[in-house]
């Protein structure tokens, strides 16, 4: 078996070589520095750092808030995608373009804007405060920031699937006597399922690592509202490189696991539909 199939086109060696060198210099070498630094710790040292009570509390908060935010995005992302694909209304193109705002707006700007809105005297916060709901500087604020950050993922993965769904399937379901709700549950939802899962996982992965938008709204109190990336920064500021590296390695391992999940969903999806990518 040869490494590369023959081709008449020029430039493979140059393009491939450059890609590998640049990828190694910018991404692979620095990431391996992290892994190598961690492997210089003994297992007990590593375990002490990553299973400390304060660190465990921040894992719980980060994953809990990320799951909630990704869940909210799953529900509302499907709703927004559905409305944008199926219905006509005034200003639809504008709304469609606006969905990508969280990708375009720097996270720090999103962070201070959300904090100002949800602070107890803010535009939204002032109505929630009398109800006893405090958003900013509490874990709930983290969920709000992460929902903002992850908003486009589910919409943008589900939208094309709903667009390409054949009308015949729904007509057939209606002909066979299915109600509109049954058609949605049994025909449309299963077709959109892999895209929904992919979008959910992408939003979750983004949320777990998010820093900029969260630190302003979180309050950053240890054991209560301190996320994992902030913990890494805190350790770095105290020159605790060992601690920062150990926690960062855990984060990196989680990133790899999530990439694996996304690839598996896509592989499963393309296999089920009998098409090759």
């Amino acid at each position: 078996m040869k490494f590369k199939q023959a081709s008449v086109l020029p430039g493979f060696n140059l393009a491939f070589g450059y890609t590998i060198v640049y990828l190694s210099l910018i991404v692979l070498l620095p990431l391996s520095a992290l892994v190598i630094k961690t492997s210089s710790l003994s297992w007990a040292q590593f375990w002490d750092v990553v299973s400390d009570d304060r660190v465990l509390a921040s894992y719980k908060l980060t994953f809990g808030a990320s799951l909630l935010a990704a869940g909210l995005n799953l529900v509302f992302g499907l709703l927004v995608a559905w409305v944008l694909v199926r219905y006509q209304f005034w200003g639809k193109r504008f709304i469609d373009a606006l969905v990508d705002l969280p990708f375009a707006l720097p996270t720090a700007v999103a962070g201070i804007a959300l904090t100002t809105l949800y602070a107890p005297n803010g535009l939204i916060g002032q109505y929630l405060a009398p109800l006893g709901i405090q958003v900013a500087f509490k874990p709930l604020g983290i969920v709000v920031a992460l929902t903002f950050i992850g908003l486009p993922f589910v919409v943008r993965t589900v939208q094309p699937v709903l667009q390409d769904l054949e009308a015949e399937l729904e007509e057939a379901a209606a002909c066979l006597g299915a109600s509109r709700w049954q058609t949605f549950c049994k025909v449309i939802f299963p077709a959109a399922m892999p895209a929904l899962l992919t979008g959910f996982t992408l939003a979750f992965a983004r949320a777990v690592g998010e820093y900029g938008s969260v630190i302003f709204i979180a309050g950053n109190i240890p054991f209560e509202s301190e996320i994992v990336p902030l913990l890494i920064i805190g350790k770095l500021e105290q020159y605790d490189y060992v601690g920062a590296t150990a926690i960062a390695t855990v984060m990196l391992a989680i990133s790899f696991a999530l990439i694996l999940v996304i690839n598996t969903i896509q592989w499963w999806h393309s296999r089920r539909h009998g098409m090759r990518k």
Partner: protein
């Protein structure tokens, strides 16, 4: 009864009017709370004390230095990732080789890594206690807490943008046109400039727009390597953070409003490029059927 059944049949694959409008209202309410209000509040807070203070916050020396640094960093990071994106897409989309999907996964990797971790890895390499820290110190080269570190962190977080737009686009276009040009005697560069580039220009521009927005707005990764030295190593987002933490809210939002404007321009440019790309596709399809 009879007529009701008739209308029901005609809307068998449509929802009742009230369902439709409630879904639209719910979706718009969600987007209003999560997208429109935050965006609006940036400008409202920035102008809360009038235009004079707004302008003052923008022409203050530290703000100007931050804007300059952001432009410099973007001017370096963007071309680097542009050239890489084209090279990677050429190798991956136009040739068949082993391990291609692994390579694509590795290129996408920076999207999955937390920005804080992205900053940290460069500190481990170039920081005072890092691998090459002692050597760099000896030769008086500063990377961490200086501009080179900020550039590196920005290059890392914007690494996949151009490549991931171009790879699927160029894969879909295949190699027929390039092969035809080869047969007609085109050189490698002619091939790229005259055949490939016109085909991918909208995808390329799309990637550049996204890459630019992220490069100018990156916060987490840059914050780890910058050291927050006022007027020296502060980019616009870091300057916003400092002003905000000093409770100088009007100035913080004034500077943030530049970034919010940038985001709006990015969205507009993106929509325009999508529209152009659709138009070109429609044109190509029509020409193909005419032949």
């Amino acid at each position: 009864m009879h007529s009701m059944q008739a209308t029901q049949r005609s809307v068998a694959t449509d929802e009742p009017r009230w369902v439709r409008w409630s879904l639209i209202a719910l979706a718009l309410a969600f987007l209003g709370f999560f997208l429109v209000l935050p965006l609006f509040s940036v400008f409202a807070e920035a102008l809360r004390k009038g235009w004079a203070l707004y302008v003052e916050a923008l022409i203050e020396p530290d703000a100007i230095a931050a804007i300059q640094l952001t432009l410099i960093v973007t001017a370096i990071a963007l071309p680097l990732n542009l050239v890489f994106g084209v090279a990677a897409a050429w190798a991956i989309a136009k040739f068949d080789f082993k391990g291609k999907s692994l390579l694509i996964t590795l290129i996408d990797l920076p999207f999955s890594v937390s920005p804080v971790v992205a900053g940290l890895i460069y500190v481990l390499l170039f920081g005072a206690q890092g691998w090459w820290g002692a050597w760099l110190m000896e030769h008086d080269i500063k990377i961490i807490f200086a501009v080179p570190g900020i550039v590196l962190a920005t290059v890392f977080v914007t690494f996949p943008f151009v490549a991931r737009e171009l790879i699927p686009l160029m894969e879909a276009q295949g190699t027929e046109e390039e092969q035809a040009a080869m047969v007609l005697g085109a050189s490698g560069w002619q091939l790229f400039w005259k055949v490939t580039l016109p085909n991918i220009k909208w995808g390329l521009l799309y990637g550049v727009i996204l890459c630019n927005a992220r490069a100018m707005g990156e916060f987490g990764a840059v914050s780890v390597v910058s050291g927050h030295i006022r007027g020296m190593t502060n980019t616009i987002p870091l300057h916003v953070e400092i002003l905000y933490n000093e409770y100088n809210f009007v100035a913080a939002f004034a500077v943030a409003s530049i970034l919010a404007l940038l985001a709006l321009v990015t969205l507009a440019a993106k929509s325009w490029v999508e529209w152009q790309a659709d138009r070109q596709r429609a044109l190509d399809a029509r020409m193909a059927t005419d032949q």
